[in-house]
């Protein structure tokens, strides 16, 4: 008798069509790199094209099978970014090896990591049939997050690269546990805040126009966050500190619906940034490089080169393989956005930003339509932290804000980043599938009255 008023369409066909488009972008980019650098379409275009098609089809089939109602746009967007990133990393391998043939190539490794990332994505969709079950593991995730963050500080497995101690060695692989910690922390925040949101919002004292919650409500989450940020400061990881802080403040705001938390967050951020500027030389260096990069061209070579690359690209770009992005240090990881801007131009970089924007938009849409508070909070947190990450890293590279070390999601070379971002997409798809799936049909019996044991 009661049929749902509106059943969302699955739109898997649309997703397939968009996936084909995204794969075409990736393969064409790869072929264009070969044309630009070497004058011929590289022979292994077919190899990589085939790999990309397999990966995309597998992803599509998995979604079709285990999350049929999930958002149809997210996966194609991500595959497009991933394909562009792979092509650029391959292009930079060629460019860097032109100067020195011994330089390490990253493209193949990145392809392997992409496959691992998609496996992790599939695992999330298959293992987590209902995202609400994650809520039961709230504190576990909190503990895991802190454990992950401590790992790089452990002697033996921790590794310092370029002044930041945020890597661990696992046999042949190196991994940035901070990326995984971000997801764990988001789940912990969401799980905790869902339970405590009323207490946080209502119980407490009012000081200076802001309702402060009781210490026992705020305590655990504040502790979790403080430990995380403390560790990150210890590891000299500016970008992640900023990202975790933003995640914390925004989720607190969404959970309590109190804008006061944003004010508190902003004040704390300014104080923290000022303290960081006074206390840490590397923060000061970054800040000064942002204000006046040309004041010390030797030290600020990277940001200057990034800007030169962007300017060299101009409006329409140099074309795949025709610019000189390899001149910029870390053009394949931290500065891949500048590399894109150089070869694809302002037009290409804006398109990439639009893709990122669309991913954020889909994530927040999932949060809006989600029916349970935990899913809502988790989706909002993940989507916003994604937006924040894109803003911080691309803003840093293009000198909108001071440069901090963060990876460009789905494009930058680096295994942990790509795997964990695929995990985030997995979680978002899971929540979205749950949200858009029609409510299970409630069978109504003809003789309902008679089966009643107790009369009301």
């Amino acid at each position: 008798m009661t049929t749902p008023a509106w059943v969302p369409r699955k739109r898997r066909g649309a997703e397939f069509f968009l996936t084909v488009l995204a794969v075409t972008i990736g393969i064409s980019a790869y072929a264009a790199v070969g044309l630009g650098v070497e004058g011929t379409i590289p022979g292994d275009t077919y190899k990589l094209g085939f790999a990309l098609i397999v990966v995309a089809v597998a992803t599509h089939l998995i979604v079709r099978r285990v999350a049929p109602y999930a958002d149809p746009v997210l996966v194609p967007l991500v595959i497009a970014l991933n394909g562009l990133g792979l092509a650029m990393i391959y292009r930079l391998d060629l460019g860097r090896q032109q100067v020195n043939a011994d330089r390490q190539a990253f493209a193949n490794g990145q392809l392997v990591w992409t496959a691992i990332g998609i496996a992790a994505f599939a695992a999330i969709l298959i293992l987590v049939r209902d995202h609400r079950r994650l809520q039961t593991l709230t504190y576990t995730f909190g503990a895991v997050a802190i454990l992950l963050l401590i790992l790089p500080l452990m002697p033996g497995i921790g590794r310092t690269i370029n002044g930041a101690r945020i890597w661990i060695n696992l046999g042949p692989f190196s991994f940035q546990p901070g990326e995984a910690a971000k997801v764990c922390l988001a789940i912990f925040f969401a799980g905790y805040l869902v339970v405590k949101r009323d207490a946080l919002a209502l119980a407490g004292r009012r000081i200076a126009g802001i309702d402060l919650p009781r210490g026992r409500d705020l305590g655990p989450i504040l502790a979790g966050w403080l430990i995380s940020v403390g560790i990150l400061i210890f590891q000299r990881d500016l970008g992640s500190s900023l990202l975790f802080f933003g995640l914390f403040v925004v989720m607190l705001y969404v959970a309590t619906e109190r804008a006061g938390w944003l004010v508190v967050g902003a004040v704390l951020f300014v104080l923290g940034a000022y303290f960081g500027y006074l206390a840490f030389g590397h923060v000061r260096v970054r800040f000064d490089a942002w204000l006046d990069p040309f004041g010390d061209p030797d030290r600020n070579g990277q940001i200057i080169n990034g800007l030169f690359g962007l300017a060299h690209g101009g409006v329409l770009g140099q074309g795949w393989g025709l610019g000189s992005p390899q001149l910029t240090p870390f053009s394949f990881s931290d500065f891949i956005a500048a590399s894109m801007g150089e070869e694809l131009g302002l037009a290409g970089l804006m398109a990439i930003l639009m893709i990122y924007g669309l991913i954020v938009e889909r994530g927040l849409r999932i949060a809006l339509t989600c029916r349970d508070a935990f899913g809502k909070l988790l989706a909002a947190g993940l989507a916003f932290s994604f937006a924040l990450q894109v803003f911080v890293v691309i803003g840093g590279v293009t000198r909108l804000i001071p440069l901090t070390g963060l990876t460009t999601p789905f494009m930058a070379q680096g295994g942990s980043s790509i795997v964990m971002n695929w995990v985030i997409i997995g979680l978002l798809l899971r929540i979205s599938d749950q949200t858009r799936r029609p409510a299970p049909e409630i069978s109504t019996f003809e003789h309902d009255e008679e089966t009643q044991v107790v009369k009301r």
Partner: protein, 490 residues
Amino acid sequence: MNRPIRNIAIAALVLFMALLVNVNYVQFVQADSLNAKTGNKRVINEEFSRDRGPILVSGKPIAESVKSKDEYKFQRRYPDGKLYAPITGYFSYIFGNDRGIENTENGVLSGSDNRLFVNRVVDLVSNKQPKGGSVELTIDPLAQKTAASGLEALGEDTKGAVAAIDPQTGAILAMVTQPSYNPNRLASHDFSEVQKAWEQLTTSPNRPMSNRAAQEVLPPGSTFKLVTAAAALENLDMDPSDKVKGGRSLSFPGTSFKLPNQDGGNCGGDPITLERALNVSCNVSFGSLALKIGQEKLAEQAEKFGFGTTPLTQLPSNASRFAPVDRPLERTELALSGIGQFEVAATPLQMAMVTAAVANDGNVMKPYVVKTVRSPNLSILDQAKPERISEAMSPSNAAKLRRMLISTVDVGTATSARIPGVEVGGKTGTAQSTPDRPPYAWFVAFAPADNPKVAVAVLVESTDIGRDEISGGRLAGPIARAVIEAVLGK
């Protein structure tokens, strides 16, 4: 919880808008100024990888870009590197192209000149690498080679320069410097070699990268007597046959200083004619003439010939000077100035211009070295137009001075420039600088007298030859003659 989610969606939108606006600012608004920053390797690489246009002499390239297999795609080559280096300059990855035609005509050579805008658009549309235009020089290759081998013949350690111009147009026919350098070494793609070459060239006391013909200012000695003679004709209304003071030396009341003649002789009497004074390069005569003319008029005459200015704009050059001191000269100083000593200093190019003006009825022409500028498809973008800077002397006075210079070659000190069948006018110079170093040997000449085709100035700054044997006539004269012969095709 939807309200705060909507709010953070707006926040995310603001963040992305900020990113979009910022990349527009960097890649569109700031792009040009970033591209123009020094040390921007991308721009240097791009320019270095371009098919740069050639610099031509008589249709043959003296600087050209040939395909190379390395990452820069093109290699700049200078087939006659040393011979033309003072004119071409160099095109180096590390040190740029801040000298010579490579520098002054960079816009055309690199293809970035505004006149080549249409070509660039066509290249862009047809997806071709932009190509540079070509620059044709006024240099006469035979004169250039003759001048260079003349200096070389004096020995490896000889320092000197030759400048030859077409008196009627100002076109530079030869511009040679010794020692010179090999610009190929600076254009190499092996940057450590380039660095090494650069250090060697810039630290050498011989300054091989200086274009001595246009940059070195040295006392012109007796060749400056042309200026003094011109001033005498113009201001004292003299004739070649008018008498001037001769004798063994010029004394100055109140001082023990005496101005002697070069060889200690008496110039053949006292008084002698102005013509004879020039023929034998009589210091006494020109010293006393300078005193008669006065500092002001003499300086004015020098300026009319181009002293104090750098009329050659296409190559780095220095201004010649009459007297740098802004005060009345002592009588001794003025007399010395009249014979091209004291503080008088001139470039070979300046002395060639003086000679050319005498040959060209007193008209000083603006010297230039670029004849034609062409686009990559060979259409002419620019063609040199001869330009008169000033009238240094009246045509009749110029004719008088010309006759005196011809007789100087015929019967005077400049006989080493004699060419059978051609009327050559010339003047020697042997200039003292300091007692501890050998004198500078100068020679200026022009030919033919009735329709001047070439005016040349030769400077031998130092050489291995013993100091007693150094004289303008002996060292520099034969080179001047050879250059004239090369231009006239004799």
